[in-house]
Symmetry: C2
Subunit: 233 residues, 2 copies
């Protein structure tokens, strides 16, 4: 398998750095090929400008994505969201005609389950200083699953990728060594089962659940609102 | 009133640029003082590094925030989220001991309705290419109110600001001139009523609705989950 590991933490000696190292080693030990987009190490430029042509650094990322079967997106949660450098990877790499406005020969826009990255799998690995309860369904920070909707549904799934359940590492402000060992074990398990894990059951644009304005049909999850309505289970 | 207008669009000749110009003129005509953080014009550096001291550009933003009574945050919705340059304004300006880990003399962390920016008002102005239905409660992109939770609740309200309902301008991909006039009128109305508009009724950390782990008490919005549970109405 060809795996692209996108990584957005400034400090290689951090928890995130350790997990990235463990993850890449695990995948290589399993016989997979791994390439990395280590955004801080690459000094990735996250700022969209008004230039119409596709710059060389973006073209390289397109080539990596084309090569990959599976994409890992790893980041620490900052202000309930991705770090700016990662947001700017999405902003710049997913250009018009590629990430969005990607059309078939009839002019139909492919998105939400189909698109330029169709057939590839994606998995988010996220760390958060806040503890699990405060990021739970009734936690003040909002549920971590809801906070990941913009990345997982509106970005990764939008471009056609199949999205696996995220690996969520919470409460990282205080992490005793035995907990770290446990997190590494979870990570290895998830990487061993990358090819077999059931993805998040998002509804696809063209699966008959949405109308032409991208609104759920009345018969689908009747009366339900919120992000959960976009999952079949 | 002292108003800080934070603006995150690359093109001054865009719809966003026009709304910013109209907004700043309106406020000055009303007799308010306006300062701007035009992030593209400032060539704002959005990338957090590992340097421990507060850099000069961040210190200047702290000074502006200290001066302001009201903060406007204007951006186009990109990938269901803020542009990277704005995300990196939050990432870098809201440093530890200021934006988070802001404590009173007893060591109690002030956040969610109290904090370094307590007493100030904030309002988001967001534009989105997608039309209103697809950003509604059952729209595929997720409801725009939900998508703004990370900025409005987890960031602006977290640091102590009172958050006014956002001005949402959707369907900007096709905007006829008469619609633009209507949007400008909405903007002017919202700016005229900045001091009197009722804020979003978010529950405060210390208002008796959350336990010590920042989870809603069982008696509060019983059984309810999702972002809506953090509003009193």
């Amino acid at each position: 398998m060809n795996v692209l590991w996108i990584y957005a933490h400034p400090d290689p000696a951090s928890l995130n750095g350790a997990l990235r190292d463990e993850g890449v080693t695990t995948l290589r030990d399993l016989g997979h090929d791994v390439r990395e987009s280590d955004l801080y190490a690459m000094r990735w430029n996250p700022i969209v400008d008004e230039i119409a042509t596709v710059p060389e650094d973006v073209r390289i990322e397109h080539e990596k994505l084309g090569w990959a079967d599976t994409v890992i997106v790893q980041f620490p949660l900052w202000w309930a969201d991705t770090p700016a450098i990662l947001k700017g990877w999405f902003d710049r790499v997913f250009v018009q005609g590629y990430g969005y406005d990607y059309r078939d020969e009839t002019g139909h826009t492919l998105r939400y389950g189909n698109g330029v990255l169709a057939g590839k799998r994606a998995m988010v690995i996220v760390t958060a200083g806040a503890h699990e309860d405060s990021l739970g369904p009734r936690g003040a920070h909002g549920s971590l699953d809801d906070l990941l909707f913009n990345v997982q549904h509106a970005t990764l799934f939008y471009t056609g990728m199949t999205v696996l359940p995220p690996l969520k590492v919470t409460g990282t402000t205080r992490m005793p060594p035995e907990r770290f060992d446990c997190v590494v074990e979870q990570l290895r398990k998830r990487l061993h089962s990358l090819e077999t894990t059931d993805p998040l059951p998002y509804r696809t644009q063209d699966g008959g659940d949405y109308d032409r304005r991208l609104v759920l049909l009345p018969k689908v999850a009747p009366g339900q609102t919120g992000y959960g309505a976009h999952l079949t289970a």
